[in-house]
């Protein structure tokens, strides 16, 4: 063991605890090594076996998710998933969380989250073409919420806009369970040629290992700061653990990597994400069953006096590790120099199966790779099943009149102005959702649509989760998240292909939280199987809790579909005058766990709406067929807030540049009650706008396919009218819908 490391460990008060290794894990590390690990090695063990890198609590359950389909080219296990979209092209995508850093420093935390997910995608050889962001904030009245919203949104825009990848969609909701733990999930989708996908499996002893990108600093080094020999007293000042993003360098790194990827110089590539150099080097070598030697003296650094421990664990952003084909170093270097990006050969592959890290002529770490990379711990954590929630009967929920409101339309107005349903324009207008010129469906609809240049094709993208359903009954909530994303793609006329997921939960060490996780996964599994909608990538974020209060279970689903001909894309905006409005799917008036219940009736109890996956599939397939046959003028799925909210959103979306809107005249039955029909959140439903003279045929076709439909009214006027009596002007609805977030943010 080398001198420096001994000194370091002698100085650390309790290296094991500081590194967050359990006693059992420490014993295991000793067994693997046959000796005590030094400090650097200990840091490596802790990083590789951290929940974040090893998925030790979630592995067992994630394996349950279906990951295969004929169109899946790469499932989970690489930097991003890959699906075939025809014509020799693939979509590459993944979602990732940056929750904790965004709470500490909202701008930089969110910005670097975007940077990380972009790298995951271009590491695979794909050019990023769109991003989405899923945001959950604390209660609007919580003193930190406004500051966090402002910082996170500015950070996402600040990074994505600069790199030049359009941010085309996402979510933004509020709940007190996120007061001390916001969620910031970012998803990126890229485009590549099927025969030019890059992976992280290293091969070929003797091949050089290249480091490219920003210099390494002490950013984001985990654990309490450790006094090191070099830092002594000066290091008393808490070292920064917050990373600062450099989107400009990311843009250059992206262009340089894609340029090098057009050659065949790269054997394997991996971005330096969590646990930086450690995880990237172990993963590449581990996957190839290889060994690796790293010479840390050659790692570009921007600070002096860095220890091997710090260099191995730094999470400085905008960095990549690559294994090159021997002899191609010059060519690679030339490309990175052209783009003014640091390039250094920092090691080589060996066939020893060991990671040997050297610095200052000493061996700083010498570890077997396989036991760390593959044989990481796997826990079967105890979990408890969620209690089955009571059913809330529709006729037990007060009508708006009974609550002192002027009726269904006034409840609608209030719902549209509630934080979760209010327009998120204030958010997305800070994002460049148009850069690259290929966005043909902007934020505000069901799915964003990005055209694939040189073809008639487009990708449809959506990200969804309804945490209040997951909290009420995780299995249903998990299934619902998958179903809703599938429905959003369908509503745009797309063929859903696959999903990526971001599982945001509290501590898995608590059986009830573990239970939420397990049951959400099971629900997702059922939906993925029923809808032929496999999971190709994902991310788990546990420990989202403060003082024992966990976030609502939030399994966010990011979905990708393809539209074969953009001529048959639909949007949610009403278009015709007098055309028929047809509801697809069954209406039961399910109000349990609904927004009506929470925002209007002031209660949060009840079971979430059941998700009938067979009906979901039947209804969605029917809608998609009708869209591609050209029978649908506009289409919107029914989700949060129910039917009346969906129709109102269609009317509001019809606004012309001068502010004119198309209204609708609706008819709602008394069975079970108008407000249950208006605001019930039954699943598997869509509102279609259909030309009057095609409506009967469409409904007959639905009947034949076993799909329930009913006429709910027609387009017309500049207001929403219900049952010929109640009317509300669209201008009023618009003011309420658009007004809440800007006025909230103005403080």
């Amino acid at each position: 063991m080398n001198g420096a490391a001994v000194t370091e460990s002698a100085m650390a008060p309790d290296p094991i605890a500081e590194h967050d290794l359990s006693e059992a894990e420490y014993r295991r590390a000793r067994e693997i090594l046959g000796r005590d690990p030094n400090l650097t090695e200990l840091g490596i063990f802790a990083a590789m076996w951290s929940e974040h890198c090893s998925y030790k609590s979630s592995k067992k359950w994630l394996k349950r998710l279906p990951t295969e389909a004929p169109w899946v080219i790469q499932g989970p296990g690489e930097n991003a998933g890959v699906v075939d979209i025809g014509d020799g092209q693939v979509a590459v995508f993944k979602i990732e969380s940056h929750n904790h850093p965004s709470f500490i420093e909202p701008y930089q935390g969110a910005a670097t989250g975007v940077g990380g997910i972009l790298r995951d995608v271009f590491t695979m050889g794909a050019r990023p073409i769109a991003s989405l962001d899923c945001l959950r904030f604390g209660h609007p009245d919580h003193p930190k919420t406004r500051y966090l919203v402002a910082g996170v949104v500015a950070g996402i825009g600040g990074y994505g806009n600069c790199v030049g990848v359009p941010t085309v969609g996402g979510e933004c909701t509020f709940h007190e369970s996120y007061n001390g733990n916001i969620l910031v999930n970012a998803m990126t989708v890229g485009l590549a040629d099927a025969d030019r996908i890059f992976r992280s499996k290293a091969g070929g002893a003797g091949n050089p290992v290249a480091y490219v990108g920003s210099k390494t600093g002490r950013d984001g080094i985990h654990g309490a700061t450790m006094a090191s020999a070099e830092f002594g007293d000066a290091a008393e000042e808490k070292r920064p653990t917050v990373q600062v993003g450099d989107p400009f360098t990311e843009k250059l790194l992206l262009e340089a990597c894609l340029e090098l990827m057009a050659t065949d110089a790269i054997i394997a590539i991996q971005d330096m994400g969590a646990a930086g150099l450690t995880s990237s080097s172990f993963e590449m070598a581990g996957k190839g069953g290889m060994g690796m030697e790293l010479d840390l003296d050659r790692v570009p650094r921007r600070e002096t006096g860095m220890t091997p421990h710090e260099i191995m664990l730094s999470e400085s952003q905008e960095r990549m590790l690559m294994v090159l084909r021997r002899g191609r170093e010059k060519e690679a270097r030339r490309i990175f120099e052209k783009w003014e990006i640091d390039f250094a050969i920092v090691g080589r592959l060996t066939d020893t199966g060991r990671m040997v890290v050297r610095m200052n002529g000493d061996v700083a770490a010498d570890l077997p790779i396989a036991p760390l990379a593959d044989a990481s711990p796997e826990y079967d954590r105890p979990w408890t099943a969620a209690a089955v929630p009571e059913q809330v009967k529709a006729d037990s929920v007060e009508a708006p009149e009974d609550l002192g409101f002027d009726g269904v339309l006034d409840a609608l107005r209030r719902l549209l102005a509630s934080p979760d349903l209010a327009s998120k324009r204030w958010v997305w207008e800070q994002y460049d959702y148009l850069v690259r010129g290929r966005t043909i469906q902007r934020p505000g609809g069901d799915a964003a649509v990005v055209r694939i240049s040189g073809s008639r094709k487009a990708l449809a993208l959506s990200a969804d989760c309804t945490p209040r359903y997951c909290a009420a009954f995780p299995r249903t909530g998990g299934a619902q998240a998958v179903a809703e994303s599938w429905r959003n793609l369908t509503a745009a006329g797309a063929r859903p292909l696959a999903i990526t997921d971001c599982m945001n939960f509290g501590s898995p060490e608590r059986p009830e939280i573990m239970g939420q996780f397990v049951e959400c996964v099971e629900g997702m599994r059922e939906a993925c199987l029923a809808l032929d909608f496999p999971v190709v990538s994902g991310n788990v974020s546990f420990y989202n809790e403060t003082n024992g209060a966990a976030v609502q279970p939030t399994p966010v689903v990011g979905a990708v579909g393809v539209i074969d001909d953009i001529a048959s894309m639909t949007t949610i905006a009403l278009k015709g005058d007098g055309s028929a409005l047809v509801l697809v799917g069954e209406c039961r008036g399910h109000l349990g766990a609904s927004l009506y219940l929470r925002e209007i009736a002031g209660r949060t109890n009840g079971a979430p709406p059941p998700v009938d996956l067979e009906a979901e599939r039947r209804n969605g397939d029917f809608v998609r067929r009708q869209i591609s046959a050209g029978h649908v003028v506009s289409c919107h799925d029914v989700s949060d807030g129910g039917l009346l909210v969906a129709v109102a959103e269609m009317a509001l979306a019809s606004a012309t540049p001068t502010g004119n809107m198309r209204g609708a005249l609706l008819h709602l039955d008394d069975d079970p009650s108008p407000h249950a029909l208006a605001f019930g959140e039954d699943q598997g439903r869509y509102v279609l706008e259909v030309a009057q003279d095609e409506a009967d045929a469409l409904m007959a076709a639905a009947d034949a396919a076993g799909v329930p439909t009913r006429r709910i009214g027609r387009c017309g006027g500049a207001a929403l009218t219900v049952n010929g009596e109640q009317t509300i002007s669209l201008a009023v609805l618009r003011r309420n819908h658009e007004g809440w977030l800007p006025s909230y943010m103005a403080g």
Binding site: C162, F248, W428, G437, T658
Partner: protein
């Protein structure tokens, strides 16, 4: 039309304008890079949008000092049309080819949305296919688009009819409420004295094709094609 698109490290709306030029002009533009000291023989030079050098320090500041700007400047003097869009506009002002400066938006946020522009004159290489006073709809996407100049300069460019576009309502009224960034006099774009150099913040190149939801930007490229043929 032989067009050259000048790319700086951090340009990112290069693809948008290259697509637009190719679609309207029928010919793929030539790409020139920031360190190049000479430009190919060309009819039109375009500085695209993006974040050159990250827009660190000031938007467009570092790019404006790049070697290629001397060549752009020489061409501009020789009368070649030069179009700077968004970051390109910022670069042209920083380089002194256009008057004024682009400061942070009034409300200090990035803004991406469609705006309406009043075309101030239709007798330039860039606007021949529009009518003077016509209102068009194109998107903006910027953080620093707040046009500013001192009073004398402003009086001069107004007096010389060098305002190219102003933010306006759909009906053509220049009003604060229609101004996305606080630009003085609602200025969205300006010409140089000879009117062969145009800088503007909005993105006509993102509205050239019906699939993009609107094609009000297309006539700008058609105007150039017509002017140069």
């Amino acid at each position: 039309m032989r067009a050259a698109v000048v790319i700086f490290p951090g340009s990112n709306r290069d693809v948008d304008v290259i697509d637009a030029l190719a679609a309207v002009g029928g010919r793929q533009p030539i790409v020139v890079r920031h360190r190049d000291t000479e430009l190919p023989d060309t009819d039109l030079i375009v500085l695209p949008g993006g974040f050159s050098h990250g827009d660190y320090l000031r938007s467009g500041a570092m790019a404006a000092r790049a070697p290629v700007l001397s060549a752009v400047s020489a061409c501009a003097k020789a009368g070649v049309p030069v179009l700077g869009i968004c970051n390109g506009f910022q670069i042209l002002t920083e380089a002194g080819l256009l008057p004024g400066a682009l400061m942070a938006n009034r409300d200090l946020k990035f803004v991406c949305r469609d705006v309406h522009l009043r075309v101030e004159r239709a007798d330039t290489p860039f606007t021949g296919r529009y009518a003077a006073g016509q209102v068009i709809r194109v998107p903006v996407a910027h953080h620093d688009g707040n046009y500013h100049s001192d009073a004398d300069t402003l009086a001069r460019i107004e007096g010389e009819g060098r305002v190219a576009f102003r933010y306006c309502t759909p009906e053509g009224h220049v009003k604060d409420a229609a101004n996305p960034n606080g630009s003085i006099n609602g200025i969205a774009g300006v010409y140089n004295a000879a009117r062969n150099v145009l800088g503007l913040m909005p993105h006509p190149e993102d509205h050239v094709d019906g699939a993009q939801g609107c094609s009000d930007g297309r006539p700008m490229f058609e105007s150039l094609v017509e002017h140069l043929s």
